[in-house]
């Protein structure tokens, strides 16, 4: 059965790594629901957070193929309950539409959103939350004349206790354990 998975890929800073990772998903016909990239807590190590909708079996296969890439350090696959995650959305709505009564105040407060900019023509509202919360706010704002809507990809922090640094240390130790190169 298909479900949502968040794949966290820790990589070295190598040009082309994004291409290599997307090729793996493309070959398996897996759509990327969201994709974000940033430097991780470890300097020089980048974290790509990819949200996909696929089967548990398939996500394991692509995760192993990603981890096989030379410049990938570690890949983690998580279901939504194993991570803390947020997305950020920006809404641009007509000022006229929202100014009638105290609608705006109510909507912004009840959704824990905030207003970033107000001009005579439009307002920009920011909402940080999960997909569902953002969708709810979107549906409430739509009737008031939505001019633009933009949403970020997912950023996620795992609930697991073991951090990347521990893995890096382990990998480093394993790498020091050396058998003879096999093809020489």
């Amino acid at each position: 059965m298909k479900q949502e998975f968040t794949i966290s890929v820790f990589t070295e800073d190598h040009i082309g790594i994004l291409g290599q990772i997307t090729i793996i998903l493309t070959r398996r016909q897996i759509n990327i629901e969201s994709f974000t990239a940033s430097e991780s807590a470890v300097k020089g190590v980048y974290l790509l957070t990819i949200v996909v909708n696929t089967t548990g079996e398939m996500v394991q296969k692509v995760a192993r193929q990603m981890e096989k890439l030379i410049d990938v350090l570690k890949v983690f696959v998580h279901t939504s309950d194993q991570i803390i995650y947020q997305e950020i959305a920006l809404f641009k709505v007509t000022t006229n539409g929202l100014m009638s009564g105290n609608v705006i105040d109510h909507i912004v407060r009840s959704h824990n959103a905030r207003i970033l900019e107000v001009s005579p023509e439009y307002m920009v509202i920011e909402k940080t939350g999960n997909k569902k919360e953002i969708a709810e706010l979107l549906s409430q704002l739509e009737p008031y004349g939505l001019l633009q809507f933009a949403k970020s990809g997912r950023v996620a922090i795992t609930k697991q206790v073991k951090e990347l640094n521990a893995y890096l240390k382990e990998m480093d130790e394993a790498n020091r354990y050396k058998t003879e190169p096999t093809f020489n």
Partner: protein, 579 residues
């Protein structure tokens, strides 16, 4: 010619002392890695490297092929028979894109080849300059790793990394793309071999727990079967595999690329797996209660229909590439390790055993296959010459001592089925990709890699013409490779499928061929055409006795088919013996 000491001195002086051009640094890196042979083709962007190569002729032998694809295949074959990475040069643009089939072929068959391509000057990259191709983007899905170098001082480090990646772990092709300005500018040369990359660990600690559970299963199995793949040869585990099989008494079957990893005449050898493999190992895969897969990847040509594959068996998978484990079939015990290391650890844990009753079942299958398929194919007394009898004769005359190179199609299947391999790495074939045109250039690469061995290349009349220009390479370097054209005037394997699955509608598979003897002669290659059975053996002997290259054009029965066959979509146990 410089003496060894002078060469060494020259190298030492270069190390960290002198400023040299990027082009020279590339060559110096190759020498540091122990390279002595390069296959390649020059062009505009790579001219600085070729210019320098003239000064290195005493240390680096360059084989100029007639097409970059030929250089790629030759470099791969060289790697397969020597166990050392093959080296291949090409220029930017079309030079680089012509390599792609060869790169992909090496990638699917896990062969270490270091491809060095030239790139237009860095300022022009991205502008669609003359002969500019984004070869990094193009080769990304078919290389183990690739990297573009724009600064001369980066050359040593990147090439060192390329070699390390190509030959360790599951080997594979790597590509380094070097801009023309980086070749021309100078750097202070210092070389250090790479033995560590943080994000890449080919040295996997032994999974002793998994190996222990595997041993328990092996000790309790009643109908176990070993499937030996290319990984056995890559890790050099032939002796360990033999020791393991002999101690446990477990029969061994081989994948196409695993052939020659276990002696063909060994009492425990049951033959080739897969679509045109032997009857016994295919049929009895589905009767086994335990499968021990060593260095193989359960390719669809091996497994047939996955839904009906080895359903009675518990599966132990020894494989260095974790991404291959549980990819096609779900296994019970994962041993994510090098085949040699894992077998070494496993041998003391398994008990001495024998499975005579189980092995007898294979022998019964062998008998059936012999009567229905092998005997009529290898010992026909009437009709035209058959591919099987040619291969069987070569096997007999060379006593299994030759290196066999094949093209792709029927010639390949017959060579794999009927040659009796007795030495590791004595089959060079295009497995995963199935690249027609591989045979001739691969034969050249194999012979250059192992001049001490007889190298016999089997090609069909179709595949030969895909890379026939490489006869020019044979001419130029007098490469004493023996070429056997199994000529049936058809694209035989495709015609067989048309025969079996497309109502005998032979769409675009019949070939009108030139006179191959005349063509060979034009390249100064002695050649002969044979169409009568009584001349066959003496002609093969004549060919093998020749000091130089030789081409034998053998007229084969036009509509011969390869059997047994596991039809696409069928289960391995539905293997067919006849039409």
């Amino acid at each position: 010619m410089k003496t060894e000491q002078e060469k060494e001195k020259a190298t030492m002086e270069l190390n960290g002392q002198e400023h040299i051009t990027g082009a020279e640094a590339i060559l110096q890196c190759l020498i540091e890695e122990g390279v002595d042979t390069i296959f390649g083709y020059p062009g505009g962007a790579i001219m600085p490297v070729y210019d320098k190569l003239m000064d290195y002729e005493d240390r680096l032998r360059h084989i100029l092929t007639r097409h970059e694809q030929g250089a790629a295949h030759a470099a791969q074959a060289y790697a397969m028979v020597t166990g050392r990475p093959g080296i291949c040069f090409a220029t930017s643009g079309p030079g680089a894109t012509n390599l792609v089939t060869g790169i992909a072929n090496a990638f699917l068959d896990s062969v270490p080849v270091v491809f060095i391509t030239a790139q237009v000057v860095s300022g022009l990259i991205g502008t669609d300059a003359f002969q500019e191709t984004d070869i990094i983007g193009v080769s990304m899905p078919v290389t183990k790793w690739n990297c573009q170098v724009k600064k001369p001082q980066d050359i040593p480090e990147v090439i060192a990394k390329a070699f390390y990646i190509a030959k360790t772990g599951r080997p594979g092709p790597v590509l380094v793309d070097i801009t023309k300005d980086a070749q021309l500018e100078k750097l202070k040369f210092k070389y250090k071999k790479c033995d560590y990359i943080r994000s890449y660990n080919p040295h996997i600690p032994l999974h002793t727990k998994a190996i222990e559970s595997a041993a328990i299963m092996i000790n309790h199995a009643e109908r176990p079967l070993i499937l030996a793949g290319h990984g056995v040869l890559i890790s050099g585990a032939e002796d360990e595999l033999k020791a393991f099989a002999e101690k446990t008494g477990i029969p061994v079957a081989s994948t196409l690329l695993g052939l020659s990893g276990f002696p063909s005449d060994h009492r425990l050898f049951t033959g080739l797996l897969g679509m045109h493999g032997n009857y016994g190992p295919n049929l009895l895969t589905n009767e086994a209660d335990l499968i021990i897969a060593v260095g193989m990847r359960f390719d669809d040509r091996v497994t047939g229909n996955l839904k009906k594959y080895a359903k009675k068996a518990t599966i132990i998978h020894i494989e260095i590439d974790e991404a291959e484990i549980n990819k096609n079939i779900i296994v019970d015990v994962e041993i994510h390790n090098d085949a040699k290391e894992a077998l070494k650890c496993l041998i003391p844990l398994v008990k001495e055993n024998s499975f005579e009753k189980w092995i007898r079942e294979f022998r019964i299958c062998d008998k059936i296959e012999y009567e229905k398929v092998i005997k009529p194919e290898t010992k026909p007394d009437k009709g035209e010459i058959r591919m099987g009898e040619v291969v069987a004769l070569i096997s007999e005359i060379t006593k299994g001592e030759a290196i066999i190179v094949t093209d792709v199609g029927q010639n390949q299947m017959f060579a794999a089925r009927y040659y009796k391999f007795s030495h590791p790495n004595s089959l060079v074939t295009s497995g995963g990709m199935g690249t027609m045109g591989f045979g001739l250039p691969a034969g050249i690469g194999a012979k250059i890699g192992r001049p001490d061995k007889a190298v016999v290349t089997f090609v069909g009349d179709g595949g030969l013409q895909m890379t026939i220009q490489e006869m020019g390479t044979i001419l130029q370097y007098n490469v004493p490779v023996k070429i056997i054209v199994l000529n049936n005037n058809y694209l035989g394997m495709v015609r067989q499928w048309q025969d079996m699955f497309f109502n005998k509608r032979y769409a675009s598979t019949e070939l009108v061929n030139p006179d191959f003897v005349m063509i060979a002669n034009a390249y100064n290659i002695p050649a002969k055409k044979v169409s009568k059975r009584e001349e066959l053996k003496s002609s093969l002997e004549e060919m093998l006795a020749e000091d130089g290259p030789f081409l034998l054009d053998i007229v084969i029965e036009k509509e011969g088919n390869v059997f047994p066959m596991v039809e696409p979509g069928s289960s391995v146990s539905e293997v067919r013996l006849t039409y």
